[in-house]
């Protein structure tokens, strides 16, 4: 069966202005228990790649620059 591209809003937002991924930081990506964050090498910042979030918050709490905000996933809000 062919696959469709499925769009979804993601609950975790990264402030590009604060993110220091370009300097080598990967803390949020490292700590996420569901492994749903990644670094966008072109933009030089972290982003939520998969909509599979437990809204647990290590990404936000451990980010050294306060760039991450965890929102409650829309379906639960």
């Amino acid at each position: 069966m062919p696959l469709a591209a499925h769009a979804a809003s993601v609950p975790v937002v990264v402030d590009d202005a604060k993110c220091i991924a370009a300097k080598g930081c990967t803390v949020c990506v490292d700590v996420c228990p569901l492994d749903v964050l990644a670094i966008d090498l072109v933009r030089g910042s972290a982003f939520m790649k998969y909509d599979e979030c437990w809204y647990c918050m290590p990404c936000e709490v451990d980010c050294p620059t306060g760039a991450v905000t965890v929102n409650i996933p829309y379906l639960l809000r």
Binding site: M1, P2, L3, H6, D30, V31, C32, P33, L34, D35, K49, Y50, E52, C53, W54, Y55, C56, M57, P58, V61, D62, V70, N71, I72, P73, L75, L76, R77
Partner: protein
């Protein structure tokens, strides 16, 4: 994806799952014998993995001298679990509880103490006093991680174990794992394996419909249960589901264990209490469900009557530890504990001994039925063991594994088994189109809700089995476009295994027991003549599920018949309810 790259590792003690019990098993194995090669394998990152990822609000089951004795605790859990317990492992836990608290205290885990420096234990259970708050419990993982580093334990993050290896004579031989970011293979030959993969928490679908909006850490999808099953280990009482009373939609604890000692309570839509005790048990859940279904639903957690300072204190705990996004959830909906009761709901089903009673069968030494294989925490069969149980039983498993290492040689890896597993694991990467892990998981879990969630009905559970068999055929069409999707494609296979086990185990026990957890409409009565026993499920030589009854061992702590019914009288009769 390219041909699989395979790394190999050797270990004396391989611990799979680095959440709560796993790190403690590794630590204690290494402390028992510093010469051992101890490897801790984790699907996520040990720094922030598992149920206690963000910390914990308190110990739910601390047995502390002056407040409770090990015998009292064993009695309480025996009664809460309708008598179907192995008391020896419960007693081993209870006896180890206080030493573990002091050990954690020494490592710098902070527990609430009174002015005299004694532990400030609170009463939440029906009978005894066992809850020790941890208002600063957000640093538990840091403390564990520091100790792992200190002891130089080998930590392997971002590898998901997929199958256990066994030797020809049926002993444990190691495990196979796959990297969740590169799909690299890892074959670990090991003398002993400790399984600490947590609950099967992605079994039912949360009412919100969001696959990852589970009660349990969503990384815990039942891989441990599935691996143990395929290795031939017995699993106990899987029909005794985990079902919890949770904040509606948010699906996290509200949490009665925190708020109860301050005066919060579970109420119906009239603001009245309807249960005497908020400790989570099958009986409590049955009353909760009845209230939800009645004209008195929904059910709420009421704190509106508490003093503002008390509520402030509760907020500090609930909104900073354990599930800190609770505060955000309430804020968006305008729920202020001072003014509005918190709407509660019933969780999806899962397997979790931590809160309920089912899991991989272990004895008081954390041994499974496979020699050299140990299990602890939410996935092992010691009932109601919560966080402290994961620590104590993890420690027992680690120490026992360390001891067993001295008796055996390092087994060779079974090449044919490794090759077959590589084929199974990589199959979804070899297809260009087909079914996505997301849709197969969604459908499986939706069917779990439709047909397996209590009240259980024989005809519905049989339909579930037919649908699951169809999905099993569909697994041959699973497609994974990157290593992350491959992890999800493997997880859905564990989820389907657990769904099949839940159906089979529930059909086997033809009675009702454990309140709502195993409430069968066709067999509404508890039948002590035929079913006062454990049920064990395992895989026979032909790969089919086999069931057997296993007698409850004679109690080491006697419980008399009059006490046995204490948890069956949780409903408050209306005359008293009008407070």
């Amino acid at each position: 994806m390219n041909a699989p790259v395979t790394e190999t590792l050797e270990a004396d003690v391989l611990v799979i799952g680095g959440g709560t019990g796993g790190p403690m098993a590794a630590i204690r194995a290494k402390e028992a014998n510093p010469h051992l090669r101890v490897v801790l394998l984790e699907k996520a990152n040990v720094k922030r993995s598992g149920a206690i990822s963000m910390g914990m609000d308190g110990l739910n089951n601390a047995v502390i001298p002056g407040y409770a004795t090990p015998e009292q605790y064993v009695k309480e859990i025996t009664i809460a679990n309708d008598g179907i317990v192995q008391q020896k492992p419960l007693l081993a836990y209870a006896n180890g509880s206080y030493d573990m608290i002091r050990y954690l205290d020494k490592l710098d885990v902070k527990f609430e103490k009174d002015g005299a420096g004694d532990y400030a234990v609170r009463k939440v259970h029906h009978m005894g006093t066992y809850v020790l708050p941890m208002p600063q419990g957000h640093h538990v993982k840091k403390v564990l991680y520091r100790q792992l580093r200190r002891l130089r334990i080998g930590v392997v993050n971002r590898y998901m174990a997929t199958r256990l290896l066994t030797t020809r004579d049926g002993r444990i031989g190691g495990a196979i794992g796959v990297n969740t970011r590169t799909s690299e293979f890892l074959v670990i030959r090991a003398k002993t394996v400790v399984l600490t993969c947590g609950a099967a928490g992605r079994l039912g679908l949360p009412a919100s419909g969001y696959l990852f909006g589970t009660y349990e850490n969503a990384a815990n999808c039942g891989d441990g249960h599935a691996m143990a099953y395929h290795a031939g280990a017995a699993l106990a009482n899987l029909e005794c589901y985990q079902i919890n009373p949770l904040i509606k939609d948010y699906n996290g604890p509200s949490c009665a264990y925190v708020t109860g000692p301050f005066g919060g309570y579970t109420a119906n839509n009239k603001g009245n209490r309807f249960i005497e005790c908020d400790y989570w048990s099958g009986q409590m859940m049955l009353e909760f469900w009845r209230e939800l279904e009645s004209g008195n639903g929904p059910v709420f957690l009421n704190m509106t009557h508490l003093a503002p300072e008390t509520i402030g204190e509760i907020e500090t705990i609930l909104h900073s530890n354990e599930r800190p996004s609770r505060g955000r959830f309430h804020a968006r909906r305008g729920t202020d504990y001072r003014q509005r009761m918190v709407e509660m709901h019933i969780s999806e089903i899962g397997f979790c001994a931590g809160h309920s009673a089912s899991g991989v069968w272990v004895d008081e030494r954390a041994q499974t039925t496979v020699p050299g294989l140990y299990a602890a925490g939410d996935m092992a069969s010691v009932p109601h063991n919560y966080m402290l149980g994961a620590f104590v039983n993890g420690a027992i498993a680690g120490e026992e594994a360390a001891r067993f290492c001295a008796e055996v040689d390092l087994p060779e890896a079974d090449g044919a088994a490794v090759a077959a597993e590589q084929d199974r694991v990589l199959a979804p990467t070899r297809r260009g189109d087909g079914l996505t892990p997301f849709e197969v998981e969604y459908k499986t879990r939706r069917l779990v809700n439709d047909y397996l969630a209590p009240p259980k009905i024989t005809a519905k559970m049989r339909i579930a089995q037919e649908r699951f068999a169809e999905i099993r055929d569909d697994l041959g069409a699973l497609v994974a476009r990157d290593p992350h999707e491959l992890m999800r494609a493997l997880e859905v296979q564990s989820i389907l295994d657990c769904a099949d086990m839940a159906a089979a185990a529930s059909l086997f026990r033809t009675e009702s027991r454990w309140g709502f957890y195993h409430y069968r409409i066709d067999y509404p009565e508890t039948d002590n003549d035929d079913w006062f026993c454990h049920t064990l499920l395992s895989r026979d030589a032909d790969g089919r599920m086999r069931h057997r009854k296993h007698a409850v061992d004679p109690y080491v702590v006697p419980v008399d018949a009059t006490e046995m019914t204490a948890y069956q009288k949780l409903r408050i009769v209306p005359a008293e309810a009008a407070e």
